[in-house]
């Protein structure tokens, strides 16, 4: 993808100002960082000693603001309170760190307690300058965690952002909020318990890589943000893994969208999207895997869509989408349509997808089933018309209807057909199964024993209850 290559080039050519520190100012606990900032010249380093600092900083000279631990010591996500980082507390008022000097670096701090007023869009770190780096920081008690407002080329890497559990979801801010910006890099961050993990509004040409975003509303939320790519991220237990809205030319590869469960939960949500390429992603164990509304000309290729209640839902206005080379395995239902589907291509360049409930045959042994796969069965078509039909999901009656339709195909099963269904699962080692390998449930030997003992005991009890001697008609 040329966008990504261009972005990578930019990153390499960028010479960080951190390489030439001129003076080092040491701030000890009890002293003021703001005072040190006043004395600092551009390019200086301000080294903050471990301790608590109650300040709302405005960084107006390009300095390196760092704790004693810098990026050579990575964030340990399992450590809930990394004591080695100095804590800067904003006292729940305004922004905690407001950066207006281009080239500023913030490294190895814990930044906490931004003002909670959503209308003011406060953030723990507000960036209004270009080429700012924020890395190795822990952000707690935020409204927005990091808010990049109209600055370009921010690099946000290796941070941990924890939202406020004491606020309801709609009162929380976003983990990383990007507005009117471009050419940013968001790498290897962990974001949890915020509203949207990373929110894009008019934020173009951004690369999102290696982040772990969980227990938020939308993992990624694109609004009017084009030419972006995201890859190798893990989105777990969110309302939606990624909500892509009103944007075009997005490419995402090797991400995992897992365990989004709820009435309005989606692995990947497309709303009014164009020219989006999804490749080698894993969509696992969601209420709905891929949801599209008014989205066209998108390519969904080589993904594994596994164990979802519903694999794909296509609403109105979806045309020109191509699904090819995907594995659809073990989903309770494959496809829900609210209009007829004539515009979606379920195969391309001589092959379709693998569907685990395809029961056709392959007489010529070319690996492609000889009869097309009707993606919707008769039950799903009824369900598309009346949602309440789903109460009869997995019922013998539903199964009989499906079987009857298959042996006597007199009903029109709609237009959704994969003409070239692949007979065996497509081997694709790019799909990041290792991220969520196995089950998140822990087996319990104790409970297994309980079941064993209870079953045997009740059975034995009943057996003992029966009489040895049968004496028909004996009076009680």
């Amino acid at each position: 993808m040329p966008i990504t290559a261009l972005l990578a080039l930019l990153l390499v050519n960028q010479t960080p100002s951190t390489d030439v520190p001129r003076a080092v100012h040491v701030v000890k606990a009890g002293q003021s960082i703001a005072l040190a900032l006043q004395k600092a010249a551009p390019g200086d380093t301000i080294r903050v000693t471990t301790g608590e600092y109650y300040e709302n900083l405005v960084i107006d000279v390009p300095v390196v603001l760092t704790g004693p631990v810098n990026r050579t010591v990575p964030v340990d996500p399992s450590d809930p309170s990394p004591h080695s980082r100095p804590i800067i507390r904003g006292g729940y008022e305004g922004n905690v760190i407001h950066i207006i000097a281009p080239g500023t670096v913030v490294d190895g701090l814990q930044v906490s307690e931004a003002g909670p007023q959503l209308t003011k869009d406060y953030a723990c770190i507000l960036v209004e300058a270009d080429s700012v780096k924020i890395r190795n920081c822990v952000i707690t008690e935020p409204l927005h965690g990091i808010y990049v407002k109209a600055g370009i080329h921010a690099v946000i890497e290796d941070n941990v952002i924890r939202g406020r559990l004491d606020l309801i979801e709609s009162d929380r801010g976003n983990g990383i909020h990007l507005w009117n910006t471009k050419r940013n890099f968001v790498l290897r961050n962990e974001i949890v318990d915020v509203r949207d993990g990373i929110y894009f509004s008019f934020a173009d040409s951004t690369l999102i890589e290696g982040n772990h975003i969980h227990q938020v509303r939308y993992g990624l939320h694109y609004m009017y943000s084009n030419y972006n790519s995201f890859r190798d991220n893990l989105f777990e237990r969110n309302v939606a893994g990624a909500a892509l809205m009103y944007s075009h030319d997005i490419e995402f590869t090797r991400n995992t969208f897992a365990r989004c469960r709820g009435f309005r939960a989606y692995g990947i949500l497309y709303q009014s999207m164009d020219h989006v390429t999804a490749r080698d992603n894993l969509v696992l164990d969601n209420s709905r895997g891929i949801f599209m509304n008014n989205a066209g000309n998108n390519l969904i290729e080589g993904n594994d869509v596994v164990d979802n209640d519903l694999a794909i839902q296509l609403n109105g206005g979806c045309d020109g989408n191509i699904f090819v080379g995907n594995n659809f395995i073990n989903n309770l239902s494959s496809l829900l349509l609210d209009v007829s589907d004539r515009e979606t291509a379920w195969s391309d360049r001589g092959r379709g997808n693998y569907w685990s409930d395809y029961d056709g045959y392959d007489l010529d042994r070319d690996g492609i089933g000889d009869i097309p796969y009707s993606i919707q069965n008769v039950f799903q078509i009824l369900e598309s018309r009346v949602p309440e039909v789903r109460f009869y999901l997995l019922s013998p009656a539903a199964r009989i209807l499906e079987l009857a339709e298959k042996s006597l195909p007199i009903l029109n099963l709609g237009d959704a057909r994969d003409p070239l269904p692949v007979m065996r699962p497509i081997v694709n080692n790019e799909v990041p199964w290792q991220m969520v390998a196995g089950s998140n449930a822990q087996g319990s030997v104790i409970w297994a024993t309980v079941y064993l003992i209870l079953t045997i005991a009740l059975f034995a009890l009943l057996m003992f209850w029966s009489r040895r001697q049968v004496s028909v008609g004996s009076a009680p």
């Binding site: 469960r261 709820g262 009435f263 939960a265 696992l284 164990d285 209420s287 709905r288 164990d307 979802n308 209640d309 519903l310 395995i329 073990n330 309770l332 829900l336 039950f379 009824l382 009346v386 949602p387 309440e388 039909v389 789903r390 109460f391 009869y392 997995l394 019922s395 013998p396 009656a397 539903a398 009989i400 209807l401 969520v436 196995g438 089950s439 998140n440 449930a441 822990q442 087996g443 319990s444 030997v445 409970w447 297994a448 309980v450 079941y451 064993l452 079953t455 009740l458 059975f459 009943l462 057996m463 209850w465 029966s466 009489r467 049968v470 004496s471 028909v472 008609g473 004996s474 009680p476």
Partner: protein, 275 residues
């Protein structure tokens, strides 16, 4: 418990336990459910939880398929193979209602005893794979299945009393089984072709209460998969009832009605019956 009911039910259970037919059903059912649990939970294994939903659904469906048939046939055979036994019991100084309740409870115990291995043993596999959450959910699934079995035992007693002859009773029992197992669902799904969506919302939701097998299945799926397993329909259910818990309570009440009403009618019929 009343001494008379206790003795009669114990006698009934003992007679049924000696039936090879009952024993072979118990063994067959246990083997089938264990196979389902094994292949569903262990060999397919992608993520556990979805497998759990599928496995539970399979066990529920197998239980919903075999247990009602077993209960219906067992009741009919027990009551009508030796009708003299019932006549003999009624000559004793015991109220007729107690005679009937005793025999009914003995049948219930037989059905539960024959299915307890089949329902309990898969729980071991489920607990080993899913752990506490799955184990507790599955426990409720077993309870729902047991209630279903009890409901059909009551129906079989009612059918036996009303028909009086074994051949007729067998025919009716099979018809009842096929009706609730297949026809009911097909008829309900068939209405989707004729009614308006607004009417269907009511017909399909309330229609569940008309069939104990459907109630047990939906309650079980609600337990293992959560209401969102049903998509927008689940949302409608929550909107109508208030919460997933209340929906379960309503379903459970429906199931209990299916358990109690056939027995009450049976007692009424039996009290007035001229043997």
């Amino acid at each position: 418990m009343n001494q008379n009911i206790w003795v009669i039910s114990r006698q009934e259970f003992t007679l049924n336990r000696r039936n090879r037919w009952v024993v072979s059903f118990a063994v067959l059912f246990a083997i089938l459910t264990l196979l389902i649990a094994w292949f569903g939970m262990i060999t397919s294994g992608y993520t556990g939880f979805q497998d759990f939903i599928r496995t539970s659904a399979s066990i529920i469906n197998l239980g919903g398929f075999l247990i009602p048939l077993f209960a219906l046939l067992l009741g009919v055979f027990s009551f009508l193979t030796n009708p003299e036994y019932l006549e003999l019991l009624t000559t004793q100084p015991v109220p007729r209602s107690q005679v009937l309740l005793g025999r009914y409870l003995g049948l219930v115990m037989t059905v539960l005893g024959a299915s307890i291995l089949g329902f309990g043993l898969p729980g071991i596999v489920i607990a080993l794979v899913i752990g506490v959450e799955g184990a507790l959910s599955y426990l409720l699934v077993i309870c729902y299945s047991f209630l279903l079995a009890i409901a059909f035992t009551g129906l079989s007693v009612l059918i036996s009393l009303l028909s009086g002859r074994r051949q007729i009773a067998l025919g009716i029992a099979l018809a009842v089984w096929i009706f609730y197992e297949l026809l009911y669902g097909i008829l309900i799904l068939g209405t989707t072709l004729y009614l308006s969506p607004a009417t269907l919302k009511v017909v399909l939701s309330l229609g569940l209460l008309g069939n104990p097998i459907d109630i047990a299945r939906v309650l079980s799926l609600l337990q293992v998969g959560g209401p969102h397993l049903f998509g927008p329909a689940g949302a409608t259910l929550i909107k109508m009832t208030g919460s997933s818990f209340l929906a379960s309570v309503i379903g459970l009440a429906g199931l209990l009605i299916w358990v109690v009403v056939p027995v009450l009618i049976s007692i009424r019929v039996f009290n007035k019956q001229d043997l």
